[in-house]
């Protein structure tokens, strides 16, 4: 049975950039231009979860994102790796949202898309790390949700999900349609093939404005927030590391043992 899937993706500044480049200026994260935008790491896992199902059961993958000023080459990666369609909720009014306004916009777009079996989301965005939007969408749509999935199989209108718990995993069965929040362990997102990249280059994303999904500007972006960012800051950390040196690194290793004994740590 082909599976109709929607994968929610977010364009974020590369979270793997070295910590030193993250600078807060006037309550805003400002990053140098060499830090490129990427699709968030957990949304990449969500894409891979959908692609694995498409590999075995067949089906359709619609990637969906909300924001403004999308870098086409970045977000079109969802198509290049094997997604079938890309829908962008792209407008200035979508900017600066919180979990509520983001979930509202995505849920409205999903209603407009109509038919689906599974909505995949990442466990948390790679910038704000809140981990709420997926479950928010499920609540708004009134569908069941399973979180922290590391393996998903579909059969007979049901999904069997391995959900990570602190000391192992649970196998959870859920009737479709359902929303599944994906964590790592599903496997890294596959590389785009040359064919995939060429096909993606020819496709244009569908762009929807707030009115296209039937939402008032007051429900989305900064205006639709239910929480206010009062302050963004970086606590000052003083480095106080005592570097143990030696003639050779082997000697330094031995001296570290002596120093830690002296300090009565071990």
């Amino acid at each position: 049975m082909p599976v109709n899937m929607i994968v929610c993706c977010k364009q974020v500044p590369d979270p793997e950039a070295p910590p030193a480049v993250f600078k807060v200026v006037n309550n805003k994260m400002t990053l140098p231009p060499e830090v490129k935008p990427v699709i968030g790491q957990y949304e990449e896992f969500a894409l891979e979860a959908a692609l694995k199902i498409k590999d075995t059961a067949g089906g359709k993958i619609t990637a969906l994102s909300v924001g403004n000023n999308f870098v086409r080459d970045v977000i079109k990666k969802a198509l290049a790796v094997g997604g079938d369609e890309l829908i962008l909720l792209e407008d200035g009014a979508f900017e600066e949202g919180d979990s509520w306004s983001t979930a509202n916009a995505l849920a409205a777009a999903i209603k407009k898309i109509g038919a689906y079996d599974i909505i995949f989301c990442g466990r948390q965005s790679s910038d704000w790390d809140a981990g709420q939007v997926g479950l928010g969408i499920a609540e708004i749509l009134g569908i069941p949700a399973v979180t922290l999935a590391r393996k998903v199989e579909v059969s007979d209108g049901k999904a069997k999900v391995e959900r990570v718990i602190p000391d192992g995993y649970q196998v959870i069965e859920v009737t479709l349609p359902a929303l599944i929040v994906v964590t790592s362990g599903i496997g890294a997102l596959r590389y785009a093939t040359l064919k995939g990249i060429m096909a993606a280059a020819k496709k244009q994303p569908v762009v929807w404005k707030p009115a296209d999904i039937g939402l008032e500007p007051s429900q989305i972006g900064a205006a639709g927030r239910r929480s206010k960012l009062d302050k963004l800051f970086q606590p000052v950390k003083e480095s106080k590391c005592e570097i143990i040196e030696g003639e050779t690194v082997v000697e330094a290793g031995a001296k570290l043992a002596v120093r830690l004994r002296e300090a009565k740590l071990l």
Partner: protein, 333 residues
């Protein structure tokens, strides 16, 4: 409009006892309600709550709502939500505290959307604005590269709190409080998920969260083998456990349950030895509560040296065996 008053802790049980996170939430909740001069309530939902109610009082609760139902034996969102939603609506707390745990991560966003209120997750610090009586939560953002303060006027104000970020009160069995057995009918026809099986994967030996010493490896370890030899030998010597940052877990070099970091486990051992770990904020978020951090890394510029108290710059393949051997000698002598 209902008047929102008091703080509600959504508690968790572990093996029939109050979970550590719940004692931490009660500890911080107690401080906040004392400032507000209001009550601290705790929801305990299980098939059998038993003595955990008394424990919750001993750790600071004024009122414990004990909800017992066979459908609450194991956490499932659709059954727990019914208990949490009903109680939140009945008692209208101004603040709801939930742990940033496996259960809390799954429950809190659903409850916030169901109640139509906002939620701030993974908080490290909480205080009350004396003027507005609004909660002031601080949480990390950008993978731990910054911290953010969010406020909200929508009630109740919901937060999840990171494990080990707050201190529990000293247990005091003479504390007075009220246990309120609360009957909530759980409609099992509304439970849309089914737990087919629960599989324990944790290796035998010391649990990572309880280990006094953790020897942890990062991407620079290069493969699975050294985790079982070089790192394990050192961990065994110190009666500790082996952990890892995210890349080794993502690459399958180690099982996911030893992954330490923002999206893995949060640990706070006495000694944390970080080997070939660069110290990305998303990792240090999981270990910065350690009493002493020791770093071994070949890159003198690695961020981990900003977190560490002692460090050696060098290839771990050379440094660690020398360190382990010398330590063996010292510990024997």
């Amino acid at each position: 409009m209902a008047e929102y008053k008091g703080i509600l802790v959504c508690g968790e049980l572990a093996d029939g006892k109050l979970a550590a996170i719940t004692t931490e939430l009660l500890g911080c909740g107690r401080k906040l309600v004392d400032e507000l001069k209001e009550d601290l309530s705790c929801l305990l939902a299980s098939d059998a709550v038993g003595g955990a109610s008394k424990e919750a009082i001993a750790f600071g609760a004024d009122k414990v709502y004990a909800v017992e139902h066979p459908a609450l034996k194991e956490y499932q969102a659709d059954s727990y939500m019914q208990a949490a939603e009903k109680l939140a609506k009945d008692i209208s707390p101004r603040v709801i505290l939930i742990g940033q745990t496996s259960m809390g991560r799954d429950l809190a966003p659903r409850l916030a959307f169901r109640l139509g209120t906002s939620l701030t997750t993974d908080c490290l610090n909480l205080s009350i604005d004396p003027g507005t009586k609004l909660l002031i939560p601080t949480r990390p953002a950008y993978g731990g590269n910054a911290q953010a303060v969010f406020t909200s006027e929508s009630m109740p104000q919901m937060v999840t709190v990171r494990t080990k970020a707050m201190s529990p009160l000293e247990r005091d069995d003479s504390r007075k409080g009220e246990v309120i057995p609360t009957k909530i009918d759980i409609d099992t026809s509304k439970v849309r998920t089914k737990i087919v099986e629960t599989v324990k994967e944790e290796a035998v030996g010391i649990k990572l969260e309880d280990a006094p010493v953790i020897v942890s490896g990062g991407r620079g370890i290069g493969g699975p083998q050294p985790f079982q030899t070089t790192l394990k030998e050192l961990a065994d010597l110190l009666h500790g456990a082996v952990g890892a940052s995210r890349p080794p877990a993502d690459n399958g070099w180690v099982p996911e349950h030893v992954h330490i970091g923002l999206t893995g486990k949060i640990v706070a051992p006495d000694i944390y030895i970080a080997i070939a770990i660069s110290g990305a904020s998303q990792h240090t978020a999981g270990c910065s509560g350690s009493k002493h951090i020791i770093a071994i890394n070949k890159d003198p510029e690695a961020n981990i040296f900003r977190e560490a108290e002692f460090g050696v710059v060098g290839k771990y393949e050379e440094v660690v065996p020398a360190f382990t051997n010398k330590l063996k000698e010292l510990l024997a002598g």
